[in-house]
């Protein structure tokens, strides 16, 4: 009898603890954490506590995610509020019915196809037996390659059977180490490191593939967050804009902050950041080009209007 009594009390207590604390959760945003030069405003914003300056009550939580696919799944499971990624993976999920929008651009970056084989100077030199390493099918790297393939050969899927999925560091070591893999479609800082090596060259640049500038990384938030945490989302956007301004106006301190969080030598990092193609702006460029191309080539099944997927 006594056991049942205490057991009941315990259960009630547990249930009650579950209830307390829910209201305060309104003021947190869970962000899928990503590293890399293209995400630099996130690290600067965190180091300078820009969110706290605008709204001291808003708490940011950071969740680790391996890649874009994991971010989407975490978001669908309600474990993450905000994610940053390339436009194509965003569109693929949106097309499949995932209810989310782009709330800002984060960066433009030089991406490209690097080769260690001097005989491969253009896409036409790539043979059927050559393999191309990139992060994953459907990634911005893959879609850029497909856009270039469509323009040059009228066949967007030309290289699809030659892809090898590798994380950037693995792809870099595979290309630099062996003879078997000679092509790597990558992004900063790996593209900088690879091109610094002897005997490597750029086969295709991202801007060239796209036919113009485009946003490399965007921030996306599900409708649930737009509804329930609209204020917090606005604060986050503001804080990131502040970080972008800071990065332009205080390059010295920016380098100091980023050198620490990326474990890079300040001089090396300075060189990277001075690349004219690496820009931190909240504008969203190239969205329509991606939608058109991906719709035309079957990556998207439904009609998507560019202005409908951007949160204001």
């Amino acid at each position: 009898m006594k056991k049942i009594f205490w057991g009941t009390i315990l259960i009630i207590a547990l249930v009650l603890t579950g209830c307390v604390g829910t209201p305060t959760e309104e003021k947190t945003l869970i962000i899928a954490e990503q590293y890399g030069l293209a995400y630099a405003p996130l690290q600067v914003m965190q180091a300078k506590n820009f969110v706290g300056e605008i709204d001291p009550d808003l708490k940011l939580e950071w969740a680790k995610a391996g890649n874009t696919t994991a971010i989407r799944e975490m978001m669908l499971a309600g474990k993450v509020d905000i994610g940053f990624m390339g436009i194509p993976p965003f569109l693929i999920a949106r097309d499949k019915g995932m209810d989310w929008d782009i709330f800002m651009g984060l960066s433009q970056a030089p991406v490209g196809l690097v080769s260690s084989n001097s005989e491969i100077q253009g896409l036409a030199d790539i043979e059927g037996s050559d393999r191309i390493a990139l992060p994953q099918p459907g990634s911005i790297q893959h879609i850029l390659l497909a856009i270039a393939a469509e323009r040059e050969f009228d066949d967007a899927a030309r290289f699809d059977q030659q892809l090898v999925t590798m994380k950037h560091p693995d792809g870099m070591s595979a290309m630099l180490a062996g003879q078997e893999l000679q092509l790597h479609f990558t992004s900063p800082p790996f593209i900088f490191m690879e091109l610094d090596e002897p005997n490597t060259h750029l086969v295709l640049g991202g801007t060239e593939a796209m036919g113009g500038p485009f946003t490399f990384i965007i921030g996306a938030a599900p409708k649930r967050v737009q509804r329930e945490k609209a204020d917090s989302l606005a604060v986050l956007k503001q804080a990131l804009q502040k970080a972008m301004v800071f990065m332009r106006e205080e390059p010295e301190e920016t380098i100091e902050i980023l050198a620490q969080s990326y474990q890079l030598e300040p001089e090396v990092l300075k060189g990277y950041l001075e690349n004219p193609e690496l820009n931190y702006t909240d504008e969203i460029e190239g969205l329509e080009t991606f939608i058109d191309f991906m719709g035309r080539n079957g990556y998207l099944e439904n009609e998507i209007a560019a202005d409908e997927v951007v949160w204001n």
Partner: protein, 255 residues
């Protein structure tokens, strides 16, 4: 027959629970699709032929990797039976290499085996060989003393001893090693294929699963998993059972 019925009921119950969870709407259908859409995806990919083609490709790699591991394992066992130094070296190697997942060795694999089929085979052999050796050694160490002494008296040594005396005597261990190896080979294959992508149009079932996931076709992803489970049940319940009936059960070593 009764066992079969219990298994069928269990599977049915799992399906019902799955569908029930789907109906509660607690998870987004984009990551937790209904049974209907999974079956639909399964049918669609079967008809289009994609699933079968990828499947045959993967199956061939699994069988190649498994056979290679068995041959290697038997060779190692043969040497280890005659040299205790070699045996302790192998024991050390097993305890070092067994806990490491193949994909964690990726940089080394790329260096040694490249990025094609060779790399996938390498990762399969790495996943199969060590557990296979553990069960094989375990069984060999427990061989009956009398049998061994009889073989000594008849002066049967070397590979003939392994084939005619030791292996039949340790067949239950050998067989369970192969069975463990079979499922380990599948696991290794899928994780390896997810990394190494498609060669000449076929990337195998792992690549199929990976593509389904990145293009957010979750129903297709689960359809692939269903196929893997069905193959597992068939091989385990029919093929291995058939071998057991003809060997260890017939010899009275197991029931």
């Amino acid at each position: 027959m009764k066992q079969l019925r219990i298994k069928a009921i269990l599977i049915l119950a799992c399906c019902l629970i799955w569908q029930g969870v789907y109906w509660t709407g607690m998870y987004s259908p984009l990551i937790f699709p209904s049974l209907g859409t999974i079956v639909h995806a399964l049918g669609r990919d079967f008809v289009e032929g994609a699933l079968i083609e990828q499947f045959i490709y993967s199956m061939r790699l699994v069988i190649e990797g498994l056979l290679l591991s068995i041959v290697l394992g038997l060779g190692i066992a043969l040497i280890a039976r005659s040299s205790s130094v070699f045996r302790s070296g192998i024991d050390l190697l097993i305890s070092l290499a067994h806990p490491l997942p193949g994909v964690a060795l990726l940089p080394l694999v790329i260096l040694w085996a490249g990025i094609g089929e060779g790399a996938v085979l390498f990762i399969i052999v790495h996943s199969v060989l060590w557990p296979f050796l553990v069960s094989l050694f375990g069984a060999l160490d427990r061989l009956p003393q009398t049998q061994q002494e009889v073989a000594d008296n008849y002066e049967i040594f070397g590979w003939r001893r392994l084939i005619w005396v030791d292996l039949p005597g340790s067949f239950p261990g050998f067989l369970s090693g192969v069975k463990i190896g079979w499922s380990r080979a599948w696991r290794a294959l899928i994780s390896a294929e997810m990394i190494f992508g498609a060669t000449s149009g076929s990337g195998g079932i792992g690549w199929y699963l990976f593509q389904k996931r990145v293009f957010m076709d979750t129903a297709g992803l689960f359809a692939g998993l269903v196929v893997i489970m069905v193959i597992g049940i068939l091989i385990e319940g029919i093929f291995f059972r058939w071998i057991e009936k003809r060997t260890v059960i017939r010899w009275g070593m197991e029931r």
